[in-house]
Point group: D2
Chain length 246, copies 4
Amino acid sequence: MMSNPIRVLVWNEGRHEKKNPKVQAMYPNGLHDAIAKPLREAGFSVKTATIDDPEHGLTEAALAETDVLTWWGHIAHKEVSDEIVERVQKRVLDGMGLVVLHSGHHSKIFRKLMGTTCDLKWREADERERIWVVAPHHPIAEGLGEYFEIPREEMYGEFFDIPQPDELVLVSWFQGGEIFRSGCCYQRGRGKIFYFRPGHETYPTYYQREVLQVIVNGVNWAAPGNSPKLIFGNHKPLEVIMPHEG
Amino acid sequence: MMSNPIRVLVWNEGRHEKKNPKVQAMYPNGLHDAIAKPLREAGFSVKTATIDDPEHGLTEAALAETDVLTWWGHIAHKEVSDEIVERVQKRVLDGMGLVVLHSGHHSKIFRKLMGTTCDLKWREADERERIWVVAPHHPIAEGLGEYFEIPREEMYGEFFDIPQPDELVLVSWFQGGEIFRSGCCYQRGRGKIFYFRPGHETYPTYYQREVLQVIVNGVNWAAPGNSPKLIFGNHKPLEVIMPHEG
Amino acid sequence: MMSNPIRVLVWNEGRHEKKNPKVQAMYPNGLHDAIAKPLREAGFSVKTATIDDPEHGLTEAALAETDVLTWWGHIAHKEVSDEIVERVQKRVLDGMGLVVLHSGHHSKIFRKLMGTTCDLKWREADERERIWVVAPHHPIAEGLGEYFEIPREEMYGEFFDIPQPDELVLVSWFQGGEIFRSGCCYQRGRGKIFYFRPGHETYPTYYQREVLQVIVNGVNWAAPGNSPKLIFGNHKPLEVIMPHEG
Amino acid sequence: MMSNPIRVLVWNEGRHEKKNPKVQAMYPNGLHDAIAKPLREAGFSVKTATIDDPEHGLTEAALAETDVLTWWGHIAHKEVSDEIVERVQKRVLDGMGLVVLHSGHHSKIFRKLMGTTCDLKWREADERERIWVVAPHHPIAEGLGEYFEIPREEMYGEFFDIPQPDELVLVSWFQGGEIFRSGCCYQRGRGKIFYFRPGHETYPTYYQREVLQVIVNGVNWAAPGNSPKLIFGNHKPLEVIMPHEG
């Protein structure tokens, strides 16, 4: 367990906010600001960064001081530098937690860590989403009921081209007939990754209590502990190699 | 996260200690005392119970006040009352954590929760055991190195007749040629279960730092949170059932 | 791979058919007859049995000649003999496949193998069910599309109190707002278990092509191969125990 | 199930054979020839390819005619073209099976599909390896005993930096004190991937019966079936979107 506050870096592409008045009205200080606020209130130490910051705000120094990175991106995935994606991957494998939100499913970093296309079905039709907990024992379900609803959201539907989650925590029902694996946990190296579906930029999703609770839970779950240091390469045997009698 | 100390009940069969001078010498106040001590030092609120206590020390009241139950048994599994085993199972499904130690693999409660025989291979030959971490990201690996060794232990070997673990954290190497899935995590209902292999009654295993660290980690991991209350049975639909056009 | 036809025993409680004219009209020769027919057409060697047969039709001899057992029960779970349930469990652990259908979720044998209550939510309201494939790579998805629909079915909803499936293949969407893990794979001992949700006794579900395809696939998947014989108990070390230098 | 023979492409780097007399003596026609022979005897339709073939022998046409690709590489991973690696990945996601052997753990294709470094410990010391089956129910264990031994092999040790396997089938014990997850199953898209540890180029490993049995089993398991065609992108709702009453 960590005694100091978990250090969270809330990363947001930040482009919709520059172009779309509807998004500006919904998230006047950017999606990152809306996501950062409840994390601060939960007691985390929170910074934010966007794609247009130098090195996308993901310098070696910034990442070294980050326990958990949250990621929201959509229309500018391709503009994220490959070199910086590799840097983030390296930090995740070394233990930094990663919480990928909504359209971040198509980000370079998530696809790189999954090894798949992360493609899915989608529809924008103001549909009701009902999110069911299928792993009530899991820390990410902390403080939730059996399900919660989002009145209007973009639909995401299966097949979601991801590896089978290590742990499947949440499954969404959509009004138009689809289901979706909405809360998915993965391990990569010493790091933990949580994908969480909701959060279309034109809806007030990131102001909804249950959604924020899940993000807080995801950060707590993904935060690194004092895990074993890993050594690779040529390895000496147990004192003396035991005699071979084959 | 729990603000109050996690309440642990350390259950020990306690029969070897009554019969075997070697065990008495190694664990003069019983295995439960040795296991309880480091848990108290870790800040948990700890009680102990043995098979010869009234209702095996597992009354409804005792279980209601227990967050995590640890279980060590060996020669008297059959003497544990079926009714009390069902009571413990019910509490686990309702969220109480369970940490099963060593020969507890053959306890009624573990077999009931697994649905399998939980049979394995074994040998008592003073062998060295080397326990490797295969899930460095996992909270149960907290504070460990890549592996640790127990100088002399009883061997347990595969095939271990358990369901595939939800998460496999530790794998043992034995001098005589076997491997064993030694740290296994399961979910059942709202409860979490951790099986941890070491702890033959004639060895000083429960005085070894790394072994105690794993047990402390296991208790922390298995402790219940504020998880969703579960409702079963006849369920009303979303407000009105939507019209059927099939 | 098996060269001879897979031997399937289709077990059906068979009580609804004796009492309910609606079920009699739907399945005039019993649910077992409807389920057996497409399995025969798929090339399996198929027998049937019901609860009212001697020893429920599950004699040692009958089980010894069965590669895969399919199970449908509902109102008489409690009448199934505990001794015979243990017999079936033993055969599953020794390799016999088990395909559990619909209300069989509450059968003694399924609950015994799962270690949980297998409780769920339900509703009878003529709702549409849409079943999505979330594991397209899996042999149980063979020959299906991305989803298929059942025009009218009983609803089953989460939380479904089962262990996390080893592989989750199918997830249902229901008109009234629920989702359900409808196709779940498990391993127990040398045996494989597949739970498949659909099949309320008053609907023509077991005449629907996709449903039958899934049952055929489930039998193929669960059929035993030439798997390792398992040995338990005291085990000799690798030739000589290697010297101990600890 | 496939009626026609499974079409296997055995890919081998083929560089050791050109330089190292020891390897030439052991595998006079190349590792690919040794691996292809038992696959042909098992009834598969087998072709081979090496890194020095045009497009590494992995043309679009060649991959289109391949059901399962097996991969052995070691010293020239970096020379494999990124473009061709992407081509292979695409085919795997579309259903082609992939069996990765030994030092192929560090191949670009395996690392790309895993999302991790796939680093490990190793040692060349003529050690005995004992490979245990921990999933006796699995088709990849078909025809094996509880374990088999390789008299002399290179050691690979944990931590092996891979995602947690969907199914862990084999675990190795090494004389010098290590264990290793030696048989690991994964799903990616519609494709199945099997990693199998043994096969250092200077040992007669690929002439050993049990090793060949596992490779044959791996090909059978990884072969694609008639799995659902996947559709991604904008998706129409169930007939009419149901009215929103939120």
